[in-house]
Symmetry: C2
Subunit: 334 residues, 2 copies
């Protein structure tokens, strides 16, 4: 299980004022959702449906696919572990640096692991390729045509794409219908991230029916809690699309200002979060120093292929971003 | 995954008035809990702790064991699947009839299965024995001294005891401290059942530290949602013990009245739920007929070693129980 992740403000006893450590954009939480959940609280007195069937039907309608091509999960994390379990013992190539849970889940389920830097580096013996698009922690997006082309030219292999951040980019991601049509793509989606409700735990898988049927054999019942199901159904019916443009523009502004500071560089990103590279390898110390200023960032040193040079920063509202710049200037070690 | 479980009122489009199908006792839900959760709703905006560490500490204190001897889970179900995964590929004996998830989880994780009727029937080659105590669906309790004796005389074997219904009996169950001391007992607990919050999904494991450490290697992070963690901590601090006596007495009254009806027999139970045996093998038809009267029971025909003779009934409040008796008299096929 992951150690040293983001959103770890609890470790600082309430002294954190500005949180850049989690890729969740708080402003993405739809108005009215919390009130609806408060009104629905008595739902905790009954079991949810074992496989969240009603939510699956709502999601399928919204994604223009069939009910049997969707599987709701206890956050994207359950989806990752479920896919790893359902294809246990195969050989998996993971495009790194990325979210550590793909490797952890595969290891637990007896996969042979290849750590690769690019999709094209996957060995011929790899049965599955795992990647995150847009990628965490880099924020970079791989062109969807390149991914579809890979899937169509590797018909006997599986391509697992975690699209938890599909709503944090202006670029194009693979649609559920395209994944279903390809037949060998498993898409992992996160409502947790999209709607800023990570505490509720709500994700889902879309894929061809034969894949979903296979995953269901490994699925434990009632894993998605009743309030998460209720939130999911409500969001399918009520949530409006969010224009990500202002968040992306704010991110570019923040990156430009960071690049004005000596000793730190903001790396290119297609989303609202990005890696910052420190000239000196001191990310652990920098995280602690910034925390002393009430600022929380993600120490990215524990991502595969990264080290003590890297922090991950998720853009927040303008006033908070200004405070971050001030704190970096104060704390940076040159 | 389970098909044909209890608490399936959703299948009858809102026509169910009295629900005897789930072993959860609605009256066990503590006053003030729902209000507290409503006030805490903003917690869904942040990730829960990856392993619900704060809740583990609260539970450990309440159970007089160490933090490292507790593992919170996404309902008892996650605990079952976690134990099966952590000891994948071994030989498991399951005392039947019982909750079907033990067998399902073991099968998924490559266990060899023995279906046995009593603890003493476990083969010498069985590495683990699984049982539920008090047992679902029978409601019968195995004496705790007998279980401890088995654990101490089979030091190289694991004994997995699902104690989800430990608060639904006046008999004695194994304490967390006793399981820790034995060193080869894994107890599965359900706060979901104890406090009538099955929609929230909250369970935990207690066992010796070396077992919990082993389970943690297979555990996915953030599986327990933020409101379930909050409820758990609140319950540890605020919930008072509930006297089960009046519920047990009401159950005995209901069983006696059922035994006055020709064609159906209530089997002995140590809890508030019990099996009813129909003279005619027609449990599927009886369930549907009773549903037509607004009464929901659990068709127990899909439990291993049971068949179309069996229904499971969970006692409810007196007025509902009277309605059940009336409906059974009307619907029974003789």
């Amino acid at each position: 299980m992951i150690k040293g992740h983001g959103d770890d403000g609890f470790a600082y006893g309430g002294t954190i004022i500005h949180d850049f450590s989690s890729n969740v954009i708080a402003a993405m939480q739809p108005e009215g959702l919390l009130e609806h959940l408060q009104k629905s609280i008595a739902l905790v007195g009954h079991y949810p449906q074992p496989a969240a069937e009603q939510l699956a039907a709502e999601l399928a309608q919204r994604k223009s696919i069939l009910d049997d091509e969707v599987l709701p999960t206890n956050g994207a994390t359950e989806a990752i572990y479920l896919v790893a379990a359902a294809y246990g013992g195969t050989t998996s190539a993971i495009v790194e640096p990325t979210f550590s849970e793909y490797a952890d889940a595969c290891r637990i389920c007896g996969h042979s692991l290849q750590r690769i830097r690019s999709l094209t580096d996957a060995g011929n013996d790899a049965d599955m390729v795992w990647l995150c698009n847009p990628n965490n922690p880099t924020g970079r997006l791989i062109d969807k045509e390149r991914l579809l082309d890979h899937a169509y030219t590797h018909k006997n292999k599986l391509l697992v794409i975690d699209q938890s951040y599909e709503h944090s980019t202006k670029g194009y991601c693979i649609s559920a219908a395209e994944a279903v049509e390809a037949g060998n793509i498993i898409l992992i989606h996160s409502m947790t991230k999209r709607f800023a409700i990570p505490g509720l735990r709500l994700g889902f898988v879309t894929a061809a029916e034969h894949i979903v049927r296979h995953l269901q054999k490994w699925k434990q019942p009632w894993s998605v809690n009743a309030l998460a199901v209720e939130a999911g159904v409500w969001l399918c019916r009520n949530a409006l699309p969010t224009d990500i443009t202002p968040f992306i523009e704010e991110c570019r502004w923040l990156q430009d200002r960071i690049n004005d500071i000596e000793g730190i560089e903001a790396l290119p990103s297609d989303t609202t979060f990005f890696l910052a590279r420190l000239d000196n390898p001191c990310s652990t110390l920098m995280k602690e120093r910034l925390a002393g200023e009430g600022i929380l960032v993600r120490n990215a040193c524990n991502f595969h292929f990264l080290d003590e040079h890297y922090l991950r920063i998720a853009t927040q509202e303008h006033r908070s971003n200004e405070q971050l710049l001030k704190a970096i200037k104060k704390c940076i070690l040159q």
